[in-house]
């Protein structure tokens, strides 16, 4: 596997720290960002090696193969999004078409181009109150896209030491603890979260994130009707009553996604970018 050495930067970092001299530390600090930044454009993305995971959206689902892809280390920040709307007036709060975002769009900002009194803190915190359409438009300007649901879920199986931590009840407990916490007014920065084994931060615990195909979660191959969601939920509920809480956090994410509309702007919903490892030309003129 070409990507099997994916964990090397972190391990190398740990070993070097044991020997630590000031000199090596400096070298490591200088090299680490380069190692983590394996995206074609040298941006703040990491390569998520391909693999497979078992999604929740179908009963007795088979494992889904996920091709390698690049994922942003952190969710997009208010500061980054501000630069985008500065350059693209049609995505400013006062200009945006209602098809693309509802009235809550960027409502935590003081104005079109004004983050308000908390600007300094807000600039580095993840942007929320952004719609699916807006998230896509932002990413398109960078040659990125939203991660697919399978990609996001697959990446989100990792913790600080393991690419797949889903067999560990403690992993799920941490996520569920976050889901149980009331929303905070101010979000911390993603940088304040530990990096997972691949260098990705805050997939859990900071904000919910848009996925490209959030509208696919509620249909199954068996049924072409519109009543499948309830059945899906009961399937998940069945998993729960069978005493397997491992999928419960994922179940909540699917349920959350299926409650969304493309123009919803929600106070704790942000996004991060992805890019295919072998990008096929993205065929998509978007407004």
């Amino acid at each position: 596997m070409r990507w099997a050495n994916d964990r090397l930067p972190l391990e190398a970092f740990c070993k070097l720290r044991i020997r630590q001299t000031v000199k090596t530390l400096f070298i490591v600090l200088a090299v680490l960002p380069i190692l983590a930044t394996s995206s074609p454009n040298g941006e703040d993305m990491v390569l998520i090696p391909g693999g497979s995971y078992t999604p929740l959206y179908e009963k007795d689902a088979a494992a889904v193969t996920v091709e390698p892809f690049y994922l942003d280390v952190s969710p997009v920040t208010n500061g980054q999004y501000l630069e985008f709307v500065r350059a693209h007036p049609e995505w400013r709060r006062s200009q945006i078409k209602t098809l693309f975002a509802d009235a809550n769009y960027l409502k935590h900002w003081a104005g079109d181009l004004d983050l308000g009194p908390d600007a300094a803190q807000l600039a580095d915190a993840p942007v929320t109150n952004v719609s699916w359409f807006a998230a896509r438009a932002y990413l398109k300007t960078l040659g990125k896209r939203l991660p697919n649901m399978d990609e996001w879920e697959y990446a989100a199986c990792a913790d600080e030491t393991r690419p797949d931590a889903t067999a560990d009840p403690e992993f799920h407990r941490r996520i569920l603890n976050w889901y149980g916490k009331p929303n905070t007014e101010k979000f911390p920065t993603a940088a304040s979260f530990p990096a997972d084994v691949r260098g990705v931060r805050a997939l859990h615990g900071l904000v919910w994130e848009w996925v490209r195909d959030f509208n696919n979660a509620t249909v199954t191959g068996e049924s072409r009707g519109d009543t499948t969601l309830e059945r899906n939920l009961f399937c998940a509920g069945g998993a729960l009553s069978a005493g397997d809480p491992s999928n419960y956090a994922a179940f909540m994410r699917y349920a959350f996604r299926s409650s969304l509309k493309g123009n919803y702007a929600v106070g704790n919903l942000g996004f991060r970018g992805a890019r295919s490892f072998n990008p096929t030309p993205d065929t998509n003129p978007t407004p």
Binding site: M252, G262, T283
Partner: protein
Amino acid sequence: MKLPILTLLTTLLAFPVLAEDRAAATTLPAEKPAVADGSIYDLTSEWHDQDGKKITLSDLGDKVRVIVMGYTSCKYACPRLIADLVAIETEVKNDTALSAQVGYSFISIDPEKDTPEKLKALETQYQFTPDHWKLLSGDEDGVLELAVALGMKYRKTSPLDFAHSNIITVLRRDGSIAHQQVGLEADKTDTLTAIRSAAEAP
């Protein structure tokens, strides 16, 4: 190994706080599809019709438009969905003045396979009148955007097939959604009423 049930219950109860009231994860979506507000015609994606002519969605705004999304190789739901659409057309045709103002569109969710030729074959098969029927196919992202805007869920389930919701949407001339009929062989009374009032609107 197992989370105490109490923790799960607490989590369930606390969750809506987190997700904001209307997007609460524990709330099942209503029967009605999650449609966007605003005009569908603000989508700028490019499509081709059954004659291979390039068009944008706003080109459909010459008439009140009744649309479905499906794919031509679909054996199960789509023929029934198209039959529903034809049944609506049959009713509308009873009123000549109204009929002139109403168009119908089948929009493909399978851009890979639904070439203009496939669309043309569909036109021939159902004897659609080209004045009233525009059959569209585009690209993957355009399909996704339109589906999201219409509140339609779909997913590729095999190289040949898709699972998708069955929705008939009535669009006013400005591209806003006047009505949606959900499910196969649903009662079309409200749809017809919506078409009539959409035709009366400027």
